[in-house]
């Protein structure tokens, strides 16, 4: 099957505008410009496209929230791809940038925005150069700027580079950062669709989400819904990493099972035995063997207490110490907590301290209770989702691998020297 999103894998040099145009590039935009903005939103609604950043909110409905009528509005592309084990947007903006630009232009046309911002993860400098070149080419050919393709639609496009904060992938923190403020989320409402960037209605879409839009416009919503499942139609890029033979991005139809994904990635590394996987980077609860035949859809992992998220699948084999894995994740979230709300700021710090103690063999039974209790004190009480993400690896590993924790605190395990990374984790 030819790729729909990762088209560069089929067509060489599609990052060049001429190549992209020669292969049906900007046809989706032309199609969109030929119909009314409301009709564009209707098409996207019908396609069932859902947010690929992880939350899975229906894209067309999100666009529909934007108030009609005059006034400044904004489209923001969220390329602040910071979830552990996620690298799908990077490939898109670097190798197939025009499809993202085209999708964003269609979004801008649909909601009546005249300005698009792409919020890049700051570390993606190589991808950014490629992307900026693509923008330049668009301006030169009248695909950006005044009267795009001879229509009444005008739109400017700016890139902004983040300063290295995971939290800026959260849409309100992203908007704050873009406005020059501290990258901290705000308590919704107000929702960005009503009061977003500079207080104006704003749509924030994931990069991959927007890359889906041009083919939907060209081929129609029925084509899109013919792929995937009823509630999770279409295709998805899956980031396979961890203990598999061939880590990397894979474009699949929604609904494939996690077992199929591991096979696609060449199976378990060195033929070792599967132990667990993180289906959504660090932020989703771990799943075990029992859930491998669940379909990769927004709802597929609900029975197993987990989520598809951004489908950044981190596979772990039998050699993995699950306490170590939990510590690693908690360290990440402690480091990335913005500090705005109390449970996340103080709780991630505390969890890391306790986990570190347990991992290094200095923990007690009471520490296990404290760890679980602290995690429960954070979950569901924070301003944004980061707090909930931070407790997922802890609570899910306790649920599935309690024996390993038990072993650590029973004195059976050897007391360990702090390794570089765990030492760093507890130093500040």
């Amino acid at each position: 099957m030819a790729h729909i999103l990762l088209r560069h894998r089929d067509i060489e040099n599609i990052h060049e505008l001429d190549v992209y145009l020669a292969h049906g590039g900007y046809e989706g935009l032309k199609k969109a410009l030929s119909i009314q903005p409301d009709e564009v939103i209707e098409v996207v609604k019908k396609s069932g496209l859902r947010g690929r950043g992880g939350a899975g909110f229906p894209t067309g409905i999100k666009w529909g929230f934007i108030p009609k009528g005059p006034g400044e509005k904004y489209v923001i592309i969220n390329t602040d791809e910071s979830e552990t084990g996620t690298f799908k947007d990077r490939e898109l903006v670097e190798k197939n940038p025009h499809q993202v630009i085209e999708g964003a232009l269609i979004a801008a046309y649909a909601i009546g925005a005249r300005t698009i911002y792409n919020y890049f993860r700051g570390e993606y400098m190589d991808a950014a150069y490629r992307f900026e070149e693509a923008l330049k080419a668009c301006y030169e050919r009248g695909l950006l700027g005044q009267n795009i393709l001879g229509s009444d639609f005008s739109c400017d496009f700016y890139c902004h580079y983040g300063a290295g904060a995971y939290i800026c992938g959260e849409e309100t923190a992203l908007i704050n950062s873009l406005m020059g403020n501290l990258g901290q989320p705000w308590s919704k409402p107000p929702f960005p669709a009503i009061e977003g960037l500079y207080g104006k209605p704003t749509v924030v879409n994931n990069t991959e989400t927007l890359a889906n839009v041009p083919p939907i416009l060209v081929n129609g919503p029925e084509w899109y819904t013919s792929m995937g499942t009823e509630k999770s139609p279409g295709v998805k890029i899956v980031c396979m990493s961890g203990h598999v033979e061939r880590p990397g991005n894979y474009e699949v139809e929604m609904g494939v099972t996690y077992r199929q994904l591991i096979e696609m990635a060449g199976g378990m590394r060195n033929g070792r035995k599967f132990k667990a996987l993180l289906p959504s980077g660090g932020s989703g609860p771990v799943i075990t063997e029992e859930a491998l035949d669940a379909p990769m859809t927004y709802e597929g992992l609900t029975p197993y207490g987990s989520v598809m998220g951004s489908s950044s699948v981190i596979v772990m084999d039998e050699t993995t110490d699950m306490v170590w894995a939990a510590l690693k994740m908690v360290h990440f979230f402690r480091h990335e907590s913005c500090g705005k709300c109390t449970p996340c700021r103080e709780g991630t710090f505390w969890m890391e301290k306790v986990l570190s103690r347990i991992y290094h063999g200095y923990g007690t039974e009471r520490d296990l209770q404290i760890l679980e209790s602290v995690a429960n004190q954070i979950g569901g009480r924070c301003l944004c989702a980061l707090g909930d993400f931070a407790v997922n690896p802890v609570l899910s590993t306790i649920r599935h691998f309690f024996d390993e924790y038990k072993a650590k605190v029973s004195g059976a395990g050897q007391k360990q020297q702090a390794t570089r990374e765990t030492a760093v984790a507890t130093a500040d």
Binding site: L182, F349, D428
Partner: protein, 858 residues
């Protein structure tokens, strides 16, 4: 839909206005939902998570919109997925809130436990201990013991100066951002912010000098822990040792309500001294804020240089004398020179002092030669007619209303008025500023009228002429557009000052502005609450001086006198030429302010003062008075609110309150037995001054429940401001409230040809003066003499930024710093940090080659 919604909180129904937050609705029925980051004067952010509660809303059928019911007929409620923050959720009809359930209790306990993991728990040495929301809420909702391993605590800097006025204890900070949000949202000085993230989140100052704001002290009040403290109070006392006494600020005409917190001090020899000044809630005046001048300048009351004994000149020397000797001498000399006597008063004195002072001259000596030592702003008589109507509250101005601000820089002259006008603008009021130059209020103004030097009156005259009800709208002329916006406003308040104007010009200005208010658009803008004229008086009780008849032409209550006496300028001339023989100066320093060269040909000079001023040094008798903190009295604000203040500390030395000294002199000149209490003097005022009829010390002390309820006994706004238990004051009614006021005749002012660079003295809050000099804590912030001018004008004079210049005005020379500022209109020089100079003068500026006088070395 009605404007009210009914919600049920823990089974209690409460009906509140739409848009009310759940936390406030609960507060109205005395259900205290604990908070840290929320404050009713700030926008909610929902970040501390302390106020988590269960919130249920009625479920509705999606198709019909009808409320769904359970089988038993009760409304089906949707409590969402979890707890919600009561500080961010707005009430809706039928909402049910549960604040006492187990999940809520658990959440509160959890947040307290989390906050304490990084808190140093140094309550025993913390300034906030005893009035600390964190301490209070921990006692109330905490789990009693910590599960956090103490060795895991992070140690952070505990003495971080954010400037020299405010210190930060990083360990105590709970990152609630109340201070940051206050600086940004309330006072538009976003000079502090968070730096870093997560547990390393810390407050830093972004300005140079650090925490550069006139409002910084307020952040220490609203800080819910002891993280922010003021330089002059930190480690100074424990809150429970303090005795709180209600007072009124004496530094500008706003009349902010304050509380003087006092304590006996070993280093003061066991005397009770002022430890700190805090705002006292008065939603009609200052809400819960005060500026840093009001907070930090109090140190003069305890200054060692205070006068303590009456002094009488003997053999050319001022020597200590008894009160009787001094008072006998003063009474005798004044009577001896009855025909050639004059009195000059300062306008920081209380109404009681001022009343008795004029009584001494008018009734005791038969003279109308009485005036303020430095009269800057005219129009008291106009204000008595069309002043801001009683019952007004600037907080009520908003969309549909208008505020006109003429010839004043409110931010420097009356900071709390600036704040209230700014907030009116943010609520949608039209703000029109008219001045020679841009001021900080311009940012919030809808219309900015910058007139050329000398054109203030003609501009305002034009504005008044254009303000006609039937005028065409959408005029492109900015003046016409401003006039249109003003006249069509539902309510209009006009502030006026004297920047760049002479006294005579301010008189014409007041009358012109009164005529603007009198233009009838339906009702006209006088005599109704939230309408009328507010003079930006130079001092705290200039209004009282007008009311009490400290004026050569007006007796108390604005009764014109048949034979007006000498004005201050004439008095200074009379002192010089010998036509005056005796002069009584009270609470003023005309020699120090450059108004009077020396004692001239006076036979007798008596000065009643706190300090040995330049004038006092020349006196025959010096009478030591008490500062406002040692005595009681009343001040009248620019909004004509009469406010009472109370005795907070014992007198310094043998000093007496001004009114008592005057009463004792009055007795000696034959005016009968002296009143033995300030309240009795006030009773006499209430009889003599019609405007004060019906007021007494009891009515001035009346209070009522104020909203938001922040000064009360609750566990979390406790330290924010003091509850007002001592009086909200009373506004006196102007004439327009009960009678028709005719348009004022305005004398044409001579137009003076303006050649060359024009110099105008502009106000700076911390301009050097007798009182501020005594507060070392503010010395770094003092406004040094500075000129500001546009680039082209500077270049023409060979001046550049950071140069030094010599500026000569009215034959006084100042050495000033030079600031090139493109905001200054061409042709204008702004001179600040020097005593008041009336009107405009032609600038005489010379560049100083040696930048700063170098120390000569040993």
């Amino acid at each position: 839909m009605s404007d009210l919604v009914t919600v049920t909180i823990d089974g209690v129904e409460v009906t509140v206005p739409q848009g009310t937050l759940v936390v406030d609705a609960a507060k109205m029925i005395d259900n205290d939902i604990p908070v840290f980051c929320y404050h009713p004067k700030l926008k909610p952010v929902g970040m501390c998570r302390m106020c988590l509660v269960e919130i249920g809303v009625p479920m509705r059928d999606r198709a019909t919109g009808e409320v769904l019911r359970n089988e038993d007929g009760s409304v089906r409620l949707n409590f969402g997925r979890g707890l919600q923050t009561a500080c961010t959720v707005v009430v809706s009809d039928g909402m049910v809130v549960r604040t006492a359930t187990q999940p809520v209790k658990d959440a509160r306990e959890a947040v307290i436990e989390f906050l304490l993991t990084s808190h140093p728990l140094d309550c025993p040495i913390c300034d906030k201990g005893g009035e600390c929301p964190l301490q209070n809420l921990t006692m109330r909702y905490g789990r009693g013991e910590s599960r956090f391993d103490f060795s895991n605590k992070i140690l952070l800097d505990k003495h971080v100066p954010l400037g020299e006025l405010i210190y930060l204890d990083r360990q105590r900070c709970i990152q609630c951002a109340r201070c940051i949000r206050f600086q940004d949202e309330v006072v538009d000085d976003p000079v502090i912010d968070f730096h870093n993230r997560g547990r390393r989140l810390e407050i830093v100052t972004l300005s140079e000098p650090g925490f550069d704001s006139y409002w910084s002290g307020n952040t220490t009040d609203i800080c819910p822990v002891g993280a922010l403290t003021t330089a002059d109070f930190r480690f100074g006392a424990r809150p429970w040792e303090l005795t709180s006494v209600a007072s009124v600020c004496t530094h500008c005409p706003v009349g902010c309500n304050t509380t003087l917190d006092t304590r006996r001090e070993a280093i003061a020899g066991g005397r009770s001294v002022i430890k700190r000044v805090m705002p006292r809630q008065n939603e009609w005046v200052n809400e819960i804020w005060i500026c840093d001048k009001g907070r930090f300048v109090h140190h003069y009351a305890d200054a060692p240089t205070r006068l303590k004994q009456p002094l009488v000149r003997k053999n050319g020397q001022l020597v200590e004398a008894s009160w009787d000797e001094a008072l006998d001498l003063v009474a005798g000399k004044l009577q001896q020179h009855k025909t050639a006597v004059a009195g000059l008063a300062g306008d920081r004195l209380s109404n009681e002092d001022l009343y008795l002072f004029q009584k001494l001259f008018r009734e005791g000596l038969g003279s109308n030669n009485i005036d303020l030592a430095n009269r800057r702003l005219a129009g008291g008589d106009v204000v008595a007619q069309v002043g801001l109507a009683s019952g007004s509250n600037l907080k009520e101005l908003g969309a549909g209303d208008a505020v006109l601000v003429v010839a004043t820089d409110l931010h420097e002259e009356a900071p709390v008025w600036w704040l209230r006008v700014k907030q009116a603008a943010e609520r949608g009021a039209v703000v029109v500023v008219a001045n020679l130059r841009p001021t900080r209020l311009d940012k919030f103004a809808t219309h900015r009228l910058h007139y050329a030097p000398g054109e203030a009156l003609s501009t305002i005259r034009q504005l008044v002429n254009l303000a006609k009800v039937e005028m065409e709208t959408a005029d492109s002329d900015p003046l016409a557009a401003a006039a249109d916006a003003l006249i069509k406003a539902k309510n209009m308040v006009v502030f006026y000052g004297s920047e760049g104007l002479t006294y005579e010009e301010t008189d014409a200005l007041a009358r012109l502005l009164a005529n603007l208010l009198l233009v009838k658009n339906g009702e006209g803008h006088v005599g109704r609450p939230n309408n009328g004229l507010i003079p930006v008086w130079p001092h705290s009780n200039t209004q009282g001086a007008w009311d009490m008849g400290v004026h050569p032409a007006f007796a108390p209550g604005y009764k014109p006198v048949s034979e007006p006496g000498l004005r201050a300028t004439d008095i200074y001339a009379g002192v010089a030429d010998g036509s005056l023989k005796a002069l009584f100066v009270i609470g003023a320093d005309p020699v120090g302010d450059g108004l009077m060269a020396d004692r001239g040909q006076l036979d007798f000079l008596v000065v009643q003062e706190l300090f040995m001023t330049k004038t006092a040094e020349l006196a025959d008798v010096v009478l030591p008075a008490q500062s406002w903190a040692e005595r009681e009295g009343t001040f009248t604000t620019g909004e004509r609110r009469v406010q009472r203040y109370y005795m907070a500390i014992p007198p310094i030395g043998d000093s007496r309150p001004d009114w008592q000294i005057l009463a004792q002199i009055n007795e000696r000149v034959g005016l009968g037995k002296p009143a033995f209490a300030a309240s009795l003097v006030f009773n006499e005022i209430a009889k003599v001054v019609p405007q004060y009829k019906g007021m007494d010390y009891r009515s001035l002390a009346r209070v009522e429940k104020q909203w938001p309820d922040v000064g009360g006994e609750d566990l979390y706004y406790g330290g924010t401001a003091h509850e007002n238990r001592s009086g909200l004051g009373q506004q006196w009614a102007c004439v327009a409230e009960s009678a028709t006021v005719e348009r004022f005749d305005v004398a044409e002012q001579p137009v003076i040809a303006r050649d060359g660079l024009q110099l105008v003295r502009v106000a700076a809050l911390y301009t050097s003066g007798t009182l501020i000099e005594q507060s070392p804590v503010l010395h770094h912030r003092m406004a040094r003499p500075t000129i500001q001018l546009a680039h082209a004008d500077a270049t023409a004079l060979g001046l550049a930024d950071d140069d030094r210049a010599e500026v000569t005005v009215n034959s006084v020379t100042y050495e000033t710093a030079v600031r090139v500022n493109e905001q200054v209109p061409a042709g204008l020089v702004l001179l600040s940090g020097v005593p008041y100079i009336a009107g405009l003068t032609t600038a005489q500026i010379r560049k100083l080659e040696t930048a700063v006088a170098q120390p000569t070395g040993d």
